[in-house]
Structure formats: structure tokens, C-alpha cells
Amino acid sequence: MSQKFKDATIPSIPTKARISRWFGRNMLRIYMFFGFTYLFIPVAYTFAFSFNDSGKSNLIWKGFTLSNWQNPCGAPEVCNALGNSIKIGFLATLFSTILGTMIAFAIGRYKFKGRSGSNLLIFLPMATPEIVLGASLLSLFLVFKINPGFWPTVFAHVTFCISFVVVTVKARIASLDPRLEQAAMDLYANEFETFRRVTLPLVAPGIAGAALLAFSLSFDDFIITNFNSGTLITFPKFVYISAARGIPAQANAIGSAMFFLALAIVIAIQLVNRKKAR
């Protein structure tokens, strides 16, 4: 009798223990779930409201439509701003990648007087708040009577992108196995050939990564752009200006498209790397 009684009550205790053990074991997973949900809420919101049949102000859900995706230039200012952002991003990426890669090779490959000073000069723009960078450039342009606009914005973007390019490419150079270059030299390649056929191909993924980083920094920049672009409207600036009265749903469509494009690029890079690793 007493045996039976025990059997009836005991199962409730292990269940509790099992639940708490399950929580203990999966705590990090649960945490990750909430963490990622938090990260993706605004992205999902932006994506969802890109299908909103909203008219001018995209604040309240009014009905489903594909027209924002079919006709992303339906709000012409959005496309104009996007075009400016792409042009600026492209030029800033080109210049900063070239200049930054050269600096990275100098610092990563040579011992010379002033090397630590050079490192400091690279670090400083990254440690300076954007608003100070933007304000200081604007006051320089004002002194030289240069009107803020397209090229001042490009130069401003190159300024803050260079440091990130240097850091990224330098890390790649530092991870190279020096024996590969020695082997090339042993096989009678001269310095230039070694650089062109061994060093550069090995560093290339780092340079490509740096260029992608520079483009995304430039494309997404608002503060420095706001100071130096004058009447020119870039995509982030457009969103900022129209935030008060609600941004047109076409901007959501473009923002979401950028998200999927970038995601596709990153996944493609991962797949290529995995293939190479095999």
C-alpha cells in the first residue's frame, strides 16, 4: 500500500527536475532565440510594411500590395536618393580601398621609422566621433568656400573608410604564411612576380572584404553625410528627413532589397570559402 502511494507521488518530482534540467541545458538556446528575435524585429517590420498599400505615409497597415516592389521608383525622390548613395558609395569604396590597401602593405610588411605613428594616424579617425569628423570637414570646406555636395561627401566618406580598409587588409596580411613567399623566391620569382602571383592573390579576399565593408559603411552613413552633402539627398538622409511624416513604402522595399542582396553576397562568400577549404 505504502509502495503504491509512493509510486503515485514520485513522478511529479522528476518532471520538475527534468524541466529545470531542460532549461539549464537549453538556457543559451532560449536566450539565442530571444536575442535573434530582438535583432530581427525592425527588419521584419520594414519588410512587412514594404507590402503596405499606404499611399504617402506608411504608418498604419492599410492593405497588401506588391506595387511598392514592382515600382520602387513610384516615389521618385527615393530612387534619386538611392542613386546618389550608390554613386557615392562606389567612388568612396574605390578610393579608400586603393589608398587603404597601400597603407596596409606598408605597415604590415615593412619595418620603418614612424610605423607606430602611422598606426596612430589610422586609429584616430576610428576613435573620433562621427559628428566631430563631419563638423570639422564642413568647417574646412566653408573656409575654402567649397560648397557642400557630391564630391565633399565622397571625400568625407573616403576619410572614414580608409582606416577600416587598413585594419581589414592588415589582418589578412598578418595571417599569411611567410613560407609561401619564400618558396616563390626560391623558385626564382623576382620580387614583383612574387607579389603579383603569390602575395596579391592571397591578400585579395581581405581586400574584397575591406571593399564590401567600405561600401556598406559609406552607404549607411548619415551623420558625416548630413554635414557635408548640402542639398544633395542620400538614401539615409532621405529616410531621416521624411521620418517625421512617415517614409514612403518604396523606401521599405529598397531597404529590404538591400538586406536580401547583402545577405546573398555574404552567403555566397561563405559557400565559396567552404568549397575552397575542402
Partner: protein
């Protein structure tokens, strides 16, 4: 030949450093000059002359000490929250994700492929009056009818926490990932339990990531004005908002320059102190 070789690094540096000199060093020097100027007597708005008025700094600071305090308070809070959110996330990805590691890492960065401003505006609308959060919380009586989530300090700090999260997560992940699993095994072999191992081995070894992550979050957060402009109210203005309006609305360049310099100096001092403390007491 030897002399030629010694020149190579300098030739490589020349174009980039010439650029940085023109568009970074020169502007900073110019900003320093602007910061001590005063208006030209009888001149137009926006016309200033050099008069070494260092009192600009004192006036600018006294007039805006509230906004300065707020900037550093909000940036500190956002940094702490970001660390609290990002550390377990980075830890889980580095140690518990197995073959999903790369995918999860991409997912951490992916939200930031959507424009920073679009995401901030999205938060404004999600937390705003027309969003679904506020009516739900009101009907559950969690918040009162008058309480709003946007236009508050809470919204500004939350926005900054969200926006600077990858700058915290990625360095943390990088330093956690580099930890040799044998050090953790060794700690277990020496009878440390999970918590002790975490506290005495994992955390100290991840300190470089913590330092890098907190700096990369704190510096942009302290100078930010976008979150305060979109998610805040006039009562949550930060120093960045003041600098911006001094430039564009009031055309008071000297004050804006003095404020910029004060901000930069304050950040540099704090960062130096922080690195020194983290470097001597926790890193070694």
C-alpha cells in the same frame, strides 16, 4: 638598390597619408581655430573672426552641461545593455552552435544590412502610438493610458543599444572564439565548476573583446544624435543634437566647434582611463 628599398613603405604611405592629412588632420586643426572665434562686429550671420576667445569653451560647456551629462549617461547605459545582450549571444555562437556557427554569425550581422535609419524609424513606429506594443501593454494594464514608449530616454537608450549591438557582438565573438578549449578543460580538471571556470578562465580571456566592444559601442553612442532625434523628445537631447543645430539652424560655428572639441577630449580621456584600468587590473 638598398636606398630604393627603404623608400618603398614611404611611397606606399604617401598618397593615403596625404589624403588623411588634408581631410582629417587639417580639418581638426581648422576646427580648433574656429572654436575660439567670435562674431565680426556688424558682420552677417555666420561671419566670424579669430580672437582666441577660450571663454567659448567655458560658455559652451556651461550652457550645455545637461546635454553633455545625458550623452555620457545614455552612452554608458547603452554600452552596458549591449554588453549584457551581446555576451551570452557571442558565447553561445562561439561555444554551443557547432556546425551552425557561420550561419549564426551571418544572422548576427544581417539585420545591419537594412539601413540604420530605416531600422530606427521602424522602432519608432513599433513602439509608437500606432504600433502594436503600446495598445497591447495598455490593454494589459502594464502601462497607464498616458505612458508612451517613444519620446522617452528609455526609447533613446534602447535605440542606441540596438543600433550599436554588432560593434559589441563581433569583437566579443572574435575573442571568445580564440580561447583554447584546453584551458577550459584544464580548469575542469582542476575541480573548478562551470561557473568558476566561466568567471576565472573564460571572462578574463575574453577581456580584449570586452574592451574593444565597449569602446566601439561607447564612442559612436556618445556622439550620436540620430537616435535622440528620431526616438527622443526635446528632453532627451544629446550633445550631438546641440552641435547639429548650432551648425545648421543657428549658424554658430565657434560654439559648435568648441562643443565638438570638448566631446572629443572627454571621450579620449575616458577611453585612455578605461584602457589603462582594463589593461592593468583585469588583462594581466
Amino acid at each position: 638598390m638598398k636606398i630604393g628599398k627603404a623608400r618603398v613603405p614611404y611611397l606606399l604611405l604617401l598618397p593615403g597619408f596625404a589624403f588623411l592629412f588634408t581631410f582629417f588632420i587639417l580639418p581638426i586643426i581648422n576646427l580648433a581655430q574656429t572654436s575660439t572665434q567670435t562674431p565680426v562686429a556688424g558682420g552677417d550671420t555666420g561671419e566670424y573672426e579669430q580672437s582666441f576667445a577660450f571663454s567659448n569653451y567655458i560658455n559652451a560647456f556651461i550652457d550645455n552641461r545637461e546635454q553633455f551629462g545625458r550623452s555620457f549617461l545614455y552612452a554608458t547605459l547603452a554600452t552596458i545593455f549591449a554588453l549584457a545582450i551581446a555576451y551570452p549571444l557571442a558565447y553561445a555562437i562561439a561555444f554551443k552552435s557547432g556546425k551552425f556557427k557561420n550561419i549564426l554569425l551571418v544572422l548576427v550581422v544581417a539585420p545591419f544590412f537594412t539601413s540604420f535609419l530605416l531600422r530606427t524609424v521602424a522602432w519608432k513606429q513599433i513602439l509608437g502610438e500606432e504600433g502594436f506594443v503600446v495598445p497591447t501593454l495598455r490593454s494589459l494594464h502594464v502601462i497607464s493610458e498616458q505612458t508612451t514608449l517613444t519620446s522617452t530616454a528609455f526609447a533613446v537608450v534602447a535605440g542606441m543599444t540596438y543600433n550599436f549591438l554588432p560593434f559589441m557582438t563581433l569583437p566579443l565573438y572574435a575573442s571568445l572564439e580564440r580561447i583554447d578549449p584546453r584551458t577550459i578543460e584544464a580548469s575542469g580538471d582542476l575541480y573548478a565548476n562551470g561557473l568558476t571556470t566561466f568567471r576565472r578562465v573564460t571572462v578574463p580571456l575574453s577581456m580584449p573583446g570586452v574592451v574593444a566592444g565597449t569602446l566601439l559601442t561607447f564612442i559612436p553612442a556618445a556622439g550620436d544624435y540620430v537616435n535622440a532625434a528620431i526616438l527622443g523628445s526635446p528632453n532627451t537631447k544629446m550633445i550631438g543634437n546641440v552641435i547639429e543645430s548650432r551648425y545648421f539652424k543657428i549658424v554658430d560655428y565657434p560654439t559648435a566647434a568648441a562643443l565638438s572639441f570638448t566631446l572629443m577630449a572627454a571621450i579620449l580621456i575616458l577611453v585612455t582611463l578605461y584602457i589603462r584600468k582594463a589593461g592593468t587590473e583585469e588583462l594581466v
